[in-house]
Symmetry: C3
Subunit: 105 residues, 3 copies
């Protein structure tokens, strides 16, 4: 049986990935997937405080599945405000998914 | 013109990718995309029968588009039961997409 | 606050990526993400005019976020008609996402 869940996707500079993972773990989110071979072009002229440009070099895509929609929105708003609003190049967004309902639920 | 379809995403150990592709082909699903540079951390303490840990090393992301929702759900439940429920580390889920309607449809 | 947007995903041969990016820029779409380590198998027997086969070698996944749904559909139909309908191997589709509402909106 499938249930609805949310996928949060963060594409940003590699330099902040461990801080984002620490934050996710503090929110009890322990499962994630990382894609390393990612490049791109942002639409903002953010010069990252890491010294990178928005036409950024070393990036990652980080994905997590969060069952609770409210929690997913909170995570997105927090990471955006803390890292992506003005300090680092990147984008964050949510997608609806359907996953297997685990027995323990 | 766009029509609704389902995207099935499987992130799992590379060692079972050819068996999953064989199963997909047996279901008449012949088009797929593979992402190789994937790593991650699972939220279950599954020690894979391949010897891998849930903090797994060599992984793939496999994506297929399936037009029929019922078939997509069946594929997800089958792959989960056969490989991901207890034997191998990984996750499987469905996303709604819209694709171009082909002429022959 | 989150608002709805569309994500357009194009998986195709690397050889046409710069032409697709030029087209996206002509449509005022300046932000995109590229995944390079992608392979796959198409369900059509298209022999690309680049000389590639549908069991294609060097591919990319290109993603853009477009706020306006009508514009997203137009972009998908245009790229499909121009490149993927008969000339190059690949797939294009749309997913619904939710993104942060920027202050200037």
């Amino acid at each position: 049986m499938l249930i609805r869940a949310e996928k949060v996707i963060i594409i940003t500079e590699k330099i902040i990935s461990s801080r984002i993972i620490d934050y996710l773990e503090s929110m009890d989110i322990k499962a994630y997937t990382i894609y390393k071979d990612v490049s791109g072009q942002g639409n903002r002229d953010i010069r990252s405080i890491s010294g990178g440009l928005s036409r950024y070099g070393e990036n990652i895509r980080l994905e997590v599945i969060i069952k609770d929609d409210e929690k997913a929105v909170k995570v997105v708003e927090k990471i955006y405000a803390k890292y992506l609003h003005s300090k680092y190049a990147g984008i964050i967004y949510i997608e609806d998914v359907r996953i297997i309902k685990q027995n323990e639920e």
